[in-house]
Symmetry: C2
Subunit: 422 residues, 2 copies
């Protein structure tokens, strides 16, 4: 389903058996407190609620809904975007248009709202705290633009809420009798894609969320059975060498994985960029690249620039449905004949291999993740792989992986700035 | 039009008048050899040819063309994508759909080609060398899928070429009597957006390319008049401190600038990631962020993580057409009332200011670029600003800014891999 391989021996040499065992033990402790570990199994209940809801509103979803609008930002939108972008070419995906109201950029708002009406659209407002300023502002716009008043009975059918139980947003929904789905309090926003945050919209879009959870469960079981030793080695190696290699590049050889790399960037950056218990600023800077496009952009820097980067490749073994390069030789373009008759997928994967081998030759620390194909199960595994990798790195850094204290001062500054203006 | 401000005095202290003057002198020398410097004026001729071509094919562009398909990758597509994404909300943009055939990802190819026919589509194949393997492979697919044979007379009307004069692609086009537009040989791919590479598709999309060149000209004049001293200081400071601050973040507070940051990432990474004349690997790692979205992702790492980043903010002063946040207080959500009645643009720009001030307080080296508004002229200036900044940094690094020798070995490896398979 997904397989992983490290191409550098340092991880084995520098990370002892003892360290690996110690990290695994600490994760076993941590999972008692931290909610994301339980999502692959605990979300079964959420899933049942979601499917029951969809079934009882079946008439709404069969043909009537053209647009699914997600009001959410950061952890409330990135996971859904990642999975939908990875899988939208698959057969389960229905033809509902997915729209994100995320940024308060006026041009984006105008273009997102174009062609939407309350008749053919479903809105899901997602905010863990219930007070995310972008999301509440956009929700006010949507409510007054499409429903006129809070008392409009259509709101009940068209406006769903995902939040923490007891949050201001939960109370708001309760007041208006809106359908609400909860995030467990110990599940952080960026670790929440396998909760209702991701599962609700993904189920409405037609994806098999049971398979998504199954993929995550398998990876989790493999980890706790002690079979993900290389993942722990990799995380430990990256942490131990974070000053030498401050940057970790995720180089995905498929355009379908573009938003999944963005999801990984959030997870890695916001979880690990912290002041540790000794007061030291730690963290690793994530960069997402897409192959082969970024061979024509960023790769030159990786190869000839400062050797401050490790690179993780992702490759999809079977694209299922690949067009072929016509097997014709064109006068003056004969130089390109060596790819004639190949599937485009073969060209793409050969580019991945050629780049990976080049980087190994240049002495770059490289690892490879291979997906058998893009489907709910493999993406579920991949998501849980990155969540566990981040958790292990956080434990080894000696930080709180699950908070984000650094961004609070900016929020206070924003409040002061605008509160004084009004 | 665009204004720039450095918020750290080190640049002034560490970069002497002498260094600034020396760098400016070396740029004056370099511009005699390197083509991009002349584009703001030399492209007038290209522009005339483009407008003449569009006028003589007016019937084609008035209503008949629904899709403009760009076959190109890296420098052949990023610039057009950057400018179109920045300006597609403006009045000049007509309603032709812009499609990129760029990556050899099978899913992307399938979804891009959906709904295209030769009747309502125009194709532009762009490759400086004329032998880019992704582009020629996709061109073969397009030609045989939509035109059946090379002899199809429709090809002449629908298939344009942008390349170097005398390249294999030029000869291919000559053979078939296709319309060709040239890139000057001393203009590199990633510096080519103000040549036919960008101007041809952008003119077809309705943009005022004269204004784009005007914006670039103004910035160029300002630089050579000695009025861009701070830009030179900034470039020199970044180069002198590249080991202390290996990462430069471009934090654009507008979703419209998302692809422009991707264009900047290519420009900066591929131009500066080099082995210098003393054999040292140099370069700065660029990262593109979008505000306020990435406040919920990457910002935590910038604030609390290792202090290895400088940050350039981009802000748009006037969004022209911003929706307002409804001035209503909703029960349970009163905490968010402090933004009631504001334009979304005000909220976005206040977020930019709050984040910028926070980073200054945390001791991060920050600079700010402000655009009066998003239009052809301001984007032309911004593009030329980044090109000059990169050129100055390259000169100070003592490298060849305009080649990309590092990626050649991967291309050879790919050829060997696939040539042996066939």
């Amino acid at each position: 389903m997904i397989s992983k391989k490290l191409f550098f021996e340092d991880a084995n040499n520098e990370v002892s058996e003892e360290v690996v065992n110690g990290l695994q033990d600490r994760i076993k402790e941590e999972q008692k407190e931290i909610g994301f570990y339980s999502l692959p199994t605990d979300s079964n209940e959420t899933m049942d609620k979601i499917y029951k809801f969809i079934l009882s509103n079946n008439s709404v979803y069969k043909g009537k809904i053209k647009n699914l609008v997600i009001l959410g930002i950061g952890g409330s939108s990135l996971g859904t975007k990642a999975i939908d972008t990875a899988l939208k070419h698959t057969k389960n995906r229905n033809d509902i248009k997915l729209i994100f109201l995320e940024n308060c950029d006026p041009n984006e708002i105008n273009s997102s709202l174009k062609g939407i009406s309350s008749k053919d659209s479903m809105f899901i407002m997602i905010s863990k705290s219930g007070a995310t300023i972008e999301t509440t502002s956009l929700a006010k716009l949507v409510i007054y633009k499409f429903f006129d008043t809070l008392e409009n009975p259509k709101l009940k059918k068209r406006f769903l809420i995902v939040t923490d139980e007891g949050s201001p947003l939960d109370k708001f929904g309760e007041e208006l009798s809106l359908e609400r789905f909860y995030i467990a309090p110990n599940v952080g926003g960026r670790f929440s894609v396998l909760s209702a945050v991701g599962l609700l919209p993904l189920a409405i879009l037609g994806y098999d969320i049971r398979k998504l959870l199954l993929g995550a469960s398998k990876l989790k079981k493999s980890f706790f059975d002690g079979n993900e030793r290389e993942m722990v080695q990799k995380a430990a190696y990256l942490v131990q060498n974070f000053e030498r290699y401050p940057i970790n590049v995720l180089f995905s050889y498929s355009s379908s994985l573009e938003k999944l790399t963005a999801w990984y960037v959030q997870l890695w950056a916001e979880s690990l960029g912290k002041i540790n218990s000794s007061g030291q600023s730690v963290g690793l800077t994530p960069i997402g690249l897409i192959g082969s496009v970024d061979q024509h952009s960023f790769l030159q820097l990786v190869i000839e620039g400062p050797k401050n980067k490790t690179v993780t490749f992702i490759k999809v073994k079977d694209f299922k449905n690949s067009a072929k390069i016509p097997n014709v030789s064109i006068k003056n373009l004969e130089k390109t004949d060596f790819v004639n008759g190949l599937e485009f997928a073969q060209l793409l994967n050969s580019q991945c291999e050629a780049t990976l081998e080049t980087l190994i030759e240049k002495g770059v620390k490289v690892d490879l993740i291979e997906l058998d194909t893009l489907n709910e199960e493999s993406i579920g595994s991949l998501i849980f792989y990155f969540e566990l990798l981040t958790a292990v790195a956080g434990v080894h850094f000696g930080i709180n992986t699950y908070d984000q204290p650094g961004v609070e001062s900016g929020k206070i500054k924003l409040f002061e700035k605008l509160n004084n203006k009004n």
